[in-house]
């Protein structure tokens, strides 16, 4: 019964999305305020029904209702309850329902949290989001119904969740990632609404900025969790593979980064308006493209589920409609929203422009590398794959170009600055950064030129921020009042840029300094790695809730002193019989020690073992967290709320005046 309720609720939500996409849009076109005023309640209603539908599916999973096909093939009665819950989105149908749920959530959030928006704009925005919801709910209902039953012939027990997905990181990775992916639909909807209305001003940018920041922050967290999960769960210690699906999440992030910075220029100076709109369309299109790549199974990837060509076709058509439709609209209306504001070349605007060019080019090169195998295949030239060397060769130089500009950004001024002021401001940071770049890598022999470069770039970034911070405080009457005057959006910028610096250091240090050994070890063997002594004591049998495992016991010492006990496992899951590697990691701010088991080798109890020493690998993920925190802090800025009070006051003034 419960799955049928869920199915029914999804159908109702689908109908609501149909109304939401048409009636308020019609109202906005004809100036019918009754039709427009329906939009917020329709949006909330849509959320309620999708949530009911999702809750029903979750209940079916938690109650082990194996007559539902999805539960039967992706869950098992032995599965711990928390994984039964996360199994809801550990498969194609359920993850689509999660997509729809989060889209409905964002739509309702815009409806509820935007009383300052003029009704005309709000109804257009919500209609656009309703139209996107139609696409996704139709996809769910017509090609991948999560509530399909297996009647008669429900199995006694389910086929189990893929053991790779039975992990705490995977409980929150997809929801956070989708919050980011789908969050760009808000920026997209604002952009389309502006094109429809033909009006795009500073207040438009002020409305879409906090939404874009929050979506981008969630996307950063989602990508970071995915990378962290791959690191400890896939058992080979890698944290980024340039896998097509990783790229699928990374491209919207890159485009979103460009969008955030171009929105800043649009809000503060009314610049790059039509460009900002294009970026918003671009970022969301890339999110959809990512969904297509993941869900259609056209690419070989660890994320691909068993595939069905009909699904791929559906998303491809949907993608074509969204991208084609919005670009056509853009072509017709962009002249109406373009800006006529000039700026000097030596100014913050041109630095932001550099940011945009770099991020756009980075997005396009990643896009090209990801789609290249598909293009070649479609032309019948064979099956190729584009490996990490391509992406590293293209991406790393681009980021290295970006950082010098990034360090100058905070100290620069809007509209017109002058070179001599920059020179005077940046003299000390340059000197100190060069000094850091030369000296700090000396701490780790042998001297590594790439690490020196990374230290140089990130300390340049850090010192640029410090210089600006100091300037701001120096002009205040006292330090306390100066600090108090700094806005959350300023802090957000500082934190996010610091996060980027931490990322650069972490990525380069761990890539350059990591020591990795795959070797055969017998119980009692010892191995020295980067000054740490790894001693393999024994292998023991252990039992978990739904698996049995061989557990290797390792003791790690340094100069005779105990450092950690590491117990990696080789698990065999009972329901599916699949084998899984569980790595053991001793985490630290400056180094990770990582042990994973391969397979038994030979007859004398020896195992293949993977020993890694990974310096500063945590900095990368800490950096990503800082970036997300920065984005959220910036979105919390008072000026996005102050405006509401101001509009209210002015509308009241109008009322009183009348």
């Amino acid at each position: 019964m419960i799955p049928e309720i869920g199915h029914f609720a999804l159908i109702i939500a689908f109908c609501l999305s149909l109304i939401l996409a048409t009636v308020p849009a019609w109202g906005a076109w004809r100036g019918n305020s009754v039709a427009m005023a329906l939009a917020p309640s329709l949006a909330v209603g849509m959320l309620v029904f999708v949530a009911i539908s999702f809750a029903c599916l979750a209940t079916a999973f938690l109650q082990d209702d194996f007559s539902v096909q999805l539960v039967a093939s992706h869950s098992n009665s032995l599965l711990p309850p928390i994984y039964k819950f996360s199994a809801v989105w550990g498969n194609h149908e359920g993850s689509l329902l999660l997509w729809a749920l989060i889209l409905a959530f964002w739509t309702a959030a815009v409806a509820v949290l935007s009383p300052q928006l003029p009704l005309l704009v709000l109804s257009r925005v919500l209609s656009v989001m309703g139209a996107i919801a139609i696409g996704f709910m139709a996809f769910s209902l017509f090609t991948s119904n999560p509530f399909a039953r297996l009647l008669p012939g429900a199995p006694a027990d389910g086929g189990d969740l893929n053991p790779l997905l039975q992990d705490p990181g995977l409980i929150i990775h997809p929801p956070l990632l989708y919050m980011g992916y789908v969050g760009f639909s808000v920026a997209f909807a604002f952009a389309i609404a502006a094109l429809l209305g033909g009006r795009l001003d500073a207040s438009w940018a002020r409305w879409s900025r906090p939404w874009t920041n929050i979506a981008w922050g969630f996307l950063s967290l989602g990508i970071m969790l995915g990378s962290w999960w791959a690191y400890y769960e896939l058992g080979w210690g890698g944290w980024w593979f340039w896998d097509p699906v990783e790229n699928a999440s990374f491209m919207p992030w890159l485009a979103g980064t460009a969008l955030i910075h171009s929105l800043a220029a649009t809000e503060k100076r009314g610049l790059f308006k039509s460009w900002t709109v294009l970026l918003a369309i671009f970022a969301f299109s890339l999110s959809l493209l990512g969904t297509f790549l993941v869900r259609s199974g056209v690419l070989t990837s660890v994320h691909a589920f068993a595939t069905d060509p009909a699904r791929g076709m559906f998303i491809l058509v949907f993608l074509a409609v969204v991208v084609g439709g919005s670009l056509t609209l853009y072509a017709f209306r962009a002249p109406a929203v373009s800006s006529r504001v000039g700026f000097d070349w030596v100014s913050r605007e041109s630095l932001l422009l550099c940011n945009n060019v770099v991020f756009l080019v980075a997005t396009l090169t990643v896009l090209f590398g990801t789609l290249f195998p598909l293009i070649v295949d479609a032309m019948g030239l064979g099956k190729v794959s584009v490996g990490p060397p391509y992406f590293n060769a293209v991406f790393v130089p681009l980021m290295a170009l970006l950082v010098p500009v990034m360090g100058m950004g905070p100290v620069s001024r809007w509209k017109r600055d002058n070179v001599s002021r920059w020179r005077q401001q940046l003299l000390i940071p340059t000197a100190v950064a060069v000094l850091c770049g030369i000296t700090l890598p000396l701490l780790h022999a042998p001297y590594n030129i790439w690490v020196a470069l990374a230290v140089l770039l990130s300390s340049w970034l850090l010192l640029g921020l410090l210089q600006d911070f100091w300037q701001r405080l120096r002009n205040a009457s006292s330090t306390a009042s100066g600090v108090k005057r700094l806005t959350p959006s300023y802090w957000g910028m500082v934190i996010a840029h610091l996060g980027f610096a931490a990322c650069v250091i972490g990525i380069v240090a761990t890539s350059q300094y990591s020591v990795e050994h795959d070797l055969k070890m017998e119980p009692g063997d010892s191995r020295e790695l980067a000054g740490y002594e790894f001693r393999f004591i024994e292998v023991a049998q252990v039992r978990g809730p739904n698996f049995v495992a061989d557990e290797a016991r390792f003791e790690v010492t340094r100069n005779g002193e105990w450092v950690a006990n590491l117990n990696p496992q080789k698990r065999r899951y009972l329901a599916s019989g699949s084998i899984m590697t569980e790595a053991a990691i001793d985490a630290g701010l400056f180094r990770d020690l990582y042990v994973a088991m391969g397979e038994p080798v030979g007859t004398d109890g020896a195992w293949a073992m993977r020993l890694h020493y990974k310096p500063m690998v945590r900095w990368m993920w800490l950096g990503a967290i800082l970036m997300a925190v920065g984005a959220f802090a910036a979105a919390a800025d008072k000026r996005y709320r102050r405006q509401r009070v101001a509009t209210k006051a002015s509308s009241e003034a109008v009322l009183h005046g009348a």
Binding site: V357, G369, S385, V394
Partner: protein, 149 residues
């Protein structure tokens, strides 16, 4: 020239230069960093290049896996049930690597027609098969279990 036009001119020049550099970088990076996929039959027929990175995929042949007693070296055969390619690899294999299962090996073919693999990819869940392997099997006219269609 009008200042706004002048600015636009510089902008266009800047973007052109930058994207030219980027395209150059892309072309340079693509050269030598793409590897073509070959089914075993084509490798045996000699259409795969020797000494260049390629990928070969198929089913791991039953009873073909041999391990070295004192190192992590392993030798096995990948087959599309028509022909088989010998693969050598040193390192830890993925968890789902097993005889009778699909796998993709990337590496360099040596003079003796043996693939010296640097990376082995196995499928990552029970029901999933790398698309290339599926297609290679389709072309050879066998299903995953080696039964002729």
């Amino acid at each position: 020239m009008h200042p706004v036009r002048k600015q636009r001119l510089y902008l266009v020049l800047f973007i052109t230069l930058f994207s030219t550099a980027a395209i150059g970088l892309v072309v340079y990076a693509l050269r030598g960093n793409i590897n073509l996929f070959y089914p075993p039959a084509e490798v045996v027929a000699g259409s795969a290049p020797v000494g260049q990175p390629i990928r070969v995929g198929g089913m791991v042949m039953e009873d073909s896996v041999q391990r070295s007693p004192d190192s992590l070296a392993i030798r096995f055969k990948l087959t599309d049930y028509e022909q088989a390619v010998e693969v050598v690899y040193v390192g830890i294999l993925p968890d789902l690597f097993a005889e009778g299962q699909g796998a993709v090996a990337s590496g360099v073919l040596n003079e003796d027609g043996v693939l010296e693999a640097t990376e082995i990819l196995a499928k990552h869940d029970e029901n999933y098969m790398p698309p290339e392997v599926t297609e290679a099997l389709e072309n050879s006219g066998y299903d995953q279990d080696g039964n002729a269609k």
